[in-house]
């Protein structure tokens, strides 16, 4: 542990940098957190397998880059890589969406149909999370079982090891605040999260589907009586969560550039923490929770050192819940603020 001589000085000195990069990382948390919060708002279930939905998205981005670019790694700036990244975004959203829908169909719907206790859905989700993580971790074996091991070797080899995207994005500094030069990647991440948040909230507030979601969140039985197809609504909720995780996965890969089969776990926990911190079931809460978590975590690194980063985030969570037992903004997907 290398602790700097004067942590407070370090914090103040690097304040702009820590804050901006914290917001950028927080954007990824926020986008994953939206998936947790949507499902919780509608079903009051903690979707423990959502981290794997995100993980599949990160692989989709890396695979697309591999398919277009080939295995030789190169670093490009954001404009040069834009084409690959856009395709990667689409692929990530599609794959994450499919995984999320699959999850709903296999792990949740049978239990919802049986009106099972909520806690058992948690176990089913944990089982699904294990299975999904293992499918990704064993993808080399699975590919060779289908006789595709050779042809797909660029995509599947070393399935348990970190998988690096061949195209790394080189951030380009745009302007500076204090002593930190804000890069285009920082801006992209924060703006993308805000934009997705805005689109999602508009969707939930203004469209017929959104009305259905709010209705089921508020009172599933009454909604059913009013002719809302609750199975559809649940499916839609999972799909939206998956799409948002796909966007988050793309941003994550732009910034970090590498992923692993087990890599979803920690991010999932962080995102879930963010969702709870903001007020689970509340869309804006997820955004605020994610951003706050990202920023405070970065400050924590400056003050306490890198190895205490995760402790900072959990201590923050505990403190916030002690002061506000249902999160910063409280629960509210059902309680229509429209």
């Amino acid at each position: 542990m290398t602790r700097k001589p004067d942590p407070m000085h370090l914090l103040l000195h690097q304040f702009p940098e820590l804050t901006i990069t914290g917001l950028a990382v927080g954007s990824v948390y926020a986008l994953i957190a939206l998936g947790y919060t949507m499902v919780y708002g509608v079903l009051q279930l903690i979707n423990f397998a959502h981290s794997e939905v995100f993980m599949f998205g990160t692989f989709a981005v890396a695979w697309v880059a591999m398919a277009i670019h080939g295995p030789n790694s190169r670093s490009e700036n954001l404009e040069q890589a834009a084409g690959i990244l856009l395709l990667g975004l689409v692929a990530a959203m599609v794959l994450s969406g499919i995984v999320a829908l699959l999850l709903e169909r296999v792990a949740y719907r049978p239990l919802i149909k049986k009106k099972a206790p909520k806690i058992i859905a948690l176990i089913s989700a944990i089982g699904a999370a294990f299975a999904l993580e293992e499918v990704m971790g064993l993808r080399d074996r699975i590919a060779s079982a289908f006789g595709l091991g050779q042809r797909l070797s660029n995509y599947v080899q070393g399935a348990r090891n970190p998988y690096t995207m061949p195209v790394t994005v080189r951030p380009h500094p745009l302007f500076s605040i204090g002593n930190y030069k804000i890069t285009d990647v920082d801006i992209l991440m924060i703006v993308a999260a805000l934009l997705m948040m805005f689109l999602l909230e508009t969707f939930v507030k203004r469209t017929r589907f959104g009305k259905g979601i709010r209705a089921v969140a508020q009172d599933p039985e009454a909604a059913a009586l009013m002719g809302v197809n609750s199975t559809r609504v649940v499916q839609l909720t999972f799909l939206i969560g998956g799409l948002m995780a796909g966007v988050g996965a793309t941003l994550y890969m732009i910034r970090i550039g590498s992923t692993t089969a087990a890599g979803g776990d920690l991010l999932g926990i962080k995102a879930f923490t963010a969702a709870v911190m903001g007020g689970i079931g509340n869309l804006r809460g997820a955004l605020i929770g994610g951003l706050v978590l990202g920023v405070v975590e970065n400050w924590g690194i400056a003050v306490l050192g890198d190895s205490w980063k995760d402790v900072t985030s959990f201590v923050l969570l505990v403190l916030i819940l002690l002061v506000r037992p249902s999160g910063i903004l409280g629960e509210a997907l059902g309680k229509a603020r429209a």
Partner: protein, 379 residues
């Protein structure tokens, strides 16, 4: 049929000898070399030790989840607390004998349960789950970053409990223990008693996990008896009331917070107990062991088995420890198989494999009401 069998089993003349037989069988299990059950790919004594430890954990966590209805996703923290207390006292910072460190570990985990429970138990429901999960992670991360606790390298060389008689030392031909118990071996039928393969009684060594299994099993039986006494007392009823409707219980004069805290502390103590056995058996503790996934597995054990029923929780614990070992021949695929199995079990028996008798009654009544309503609707 099952009613008559149940009635027969509940009669004292039948149930007591049967129970004794079952207990004897469970103790003898590692020596019997039973087909199918015995794991061929990993040391059966070790597997049984794990299974008994998980069962102990599940019974402890069942108090928290099943009786008091508190979803604790950070239970691994208490497991770690127990393991580390033993590691610190017997190896890292002292040379206490194990059986002195054990009560200390129980006290330490109980106190840590109280400390963590006091602020967090005011948070309800799913929020409690995430807060406890956070605390579980905090414990692990603090261990990882603290040199006094062995940091990320962990603590190695934790001594086994003191043996009665000599300590086993197979390299020098010392069998150890009070006396030796021979295993059975069906491959050499009819000479089934395998004198070449013996396990020392109360002789704890690295080579043989079976004495540790017996130790945990004994602890498990003691805990089960205590659990039964507590569950059937005023405390058990207070937990049940709190779980079913916290506000109503409070209005009826149950100090719910205090009882929840008690459940939390008792559960923690049992987790710590299991952790201490883990430390002394594996001789090595490292923070990498005590990850969130383990907490999830513990919760899964309780819920899959049947939260609220101690036998269900016990069965769940055994299952969760045993299945991955049994599937070891699938090697890399076993976690995949396990994940799918967990999911299928959850979908197949949403109430757990052995739900508490109360839940079964409720389900039966609900089915009856449903049937009656269906009749009236069709008329």
């Amino acid at each position: 049929m099952s009613g008559r069998l149940g009635g027969l089993l509940r009669r004292k003349q039948v149930s007591v000898p049967l129970l004794v037989l079952v207990v004897l069988f469970v103790y003898a299990l590692p020596m019997l070399d039973l087909p199918i059950i015995t794991t061929t790919d990993s040391d059966f004594g070790g597997v049984l030790f794990d299974a008994a430890s998980y069962a102990l954990i599940a019974v402890g966590l069942n108090i928290v989840i099943g009786y008091a209805g508190l979803l604790d996703l950070g239970y691994v923290g208490f497991y770690a607390c127990g393991a580390y207390t033993v590691a610190l006292l017997t190896e890292f910072h002292g040379h206490w004998p194990f059986f002195l460190a054990l009560p200390a570990a129980i006290v330490v985990t109980m106190v840590s349960g109280l400390i963590l429970g006091a602020p967090t138990l005011r948070v309800r429901g799913d929020y409690l789950a995430i807060v406890t999960m956070g605390f579980g992670e905090i414990i692990r991360l603090v261990i990882t970053n603290t040199h006094w606790l062995g940091a990320s390298q962990g603590i190695a060389g934790i001594p086994p409990p003191p043996s009665i008689g000599q300590a086993p030392d197979p390299a020098n031909g010392v069998a150890g223990g009070l006396f030796q118990v021979p295993h059975l071996s069906w491959s050499t039928f009819p000479n089934v008693i395998d004198v070449g393969h013996e396990t020392p009684f109360v002789g704890f060594g690295v080579a043989d996990a079976i004495p540790f299994y017996w130790l945990v099993l004994t602890a498990l039986f003691i805990v089960l008896i205590a659990d039964r006494l507590v569950k059937n007392s005023r405390v058990g009823r207070a937990w049940e009331a709190t779980r079913e409707d916290e506000d109503a219980a409070e209005v009826m004069g149950v100090p719910t917070f205090r009882y929840k805290l008690l459940a939390f502390a008792l559960g923690a103590a049992i987790g710590g107990l299991s952790g201490s056995f883990y430390a002394t058996q594996t001789t090595y503790v490292s923070p990498d062991t005590f990850i969130i996934t383990l907490s999830e597995l513990f919760v899964a054990a309780v819920i899959i088995g049947g939260a609220g029923n101690r036998w269900g929780a016990l069965a769940g614990g055994v299952l969760v420890a045993y299945l991955p070992e049994r599937f070891r021949s699938f090697s890399d695929w076993r976690m995949l198989v396990f994940g799918v199995a967990l999911m299928l079990l959850a979908i197949w028996r949403p109430q757990g494999i052995f739900p508490p008798r109360r839940t079964r009654r409720v389900l039966k009544v609900e089915a009856k009401i449903e049937a009656l309503e269906g009749e009236t609707a069709s008329v």
